[in-house]
Symmetry: C2
Subunit: 126 residues, 2 copies
Amino acid sequence: MVTKQFRGSLDEADLRRADSLGREIFSDIANKWALLIIEALGESTLRFSELRDEVEGVSHKMLTQNLRMLERNGLVERTVHPVVPPRVEYTLTEPGQALRVTIDGLCDWTHRYLGHIETSRHRFSV
Amino acid sequence: MVTKQFRGSLDEADLRRADSLGREIFSDIANKWALLIIEALGESTLRFSELRDEVEGVSHKMLTQNLRMLERNGLVERTVHPVVPPRVEYTLTEPGQALRVTIDGLCDWTHRYLGHIETSRHRFSV
DNA sequence: CGGTATCCTATGCGATACTG
DNA sequence: CAGTATCGCATAGGATACCG
């Protein structure tokens, strides 16, 4: 979404359009599976089954559903090799790569503050 | 969660514990409302009602629910002023501030690639 | 192997009402 | 003003089965 830092750089109509679109994108992406899939893809190209193994706990359904969404938003590219059995590969586009960098930041954050959070939870339940 | 970049820096038992906790945190945080609330708090201290106005579209219920979760994880601090009517203020802790920085990155990303995504969606629906 | 469709449960989330 | 509790609908998401 368009946060306060950007208001003023756009006219009213653009602002409204960007706001609702941005909100939509934000909802698409602020979702556990999408983030984990992007993180799993990283620099490499992976097949559907490899992704399913890599993103632990994801179901067949959620994987397809999120991959379609990411493809629609132009974050991953899907390549079908016309062979039997079918071979389908997924790779991050440039926007996808850029997003991955910020997700890496999220992972670093989680790692760094794991201890803080653990003790905070303990204190909270008292 | 503990991603590949960190494996090897921990022993087996720690790894499992960190993995499940990390996954939990990730699920807590990779959620639209949590991210928007943290972003709204920013540098400032806000009252419950101010937050509800700031985070557009959030319901009373979702706001309380997410604030409790963030408090439990030690990302926001809740201060109750014993006056009538009650005055409750929320502010980001240091871990919360650190997280906000990475969320800012997410917002920047959304802003930067809004155009890419819009055209990609259009192409996809053909 | 990768994808779609179906069914069913759990959860998200809004609306409303009640308390200190 | 801030919070809790309850109800009820809508969506998320697992399990399973079937198709190219």
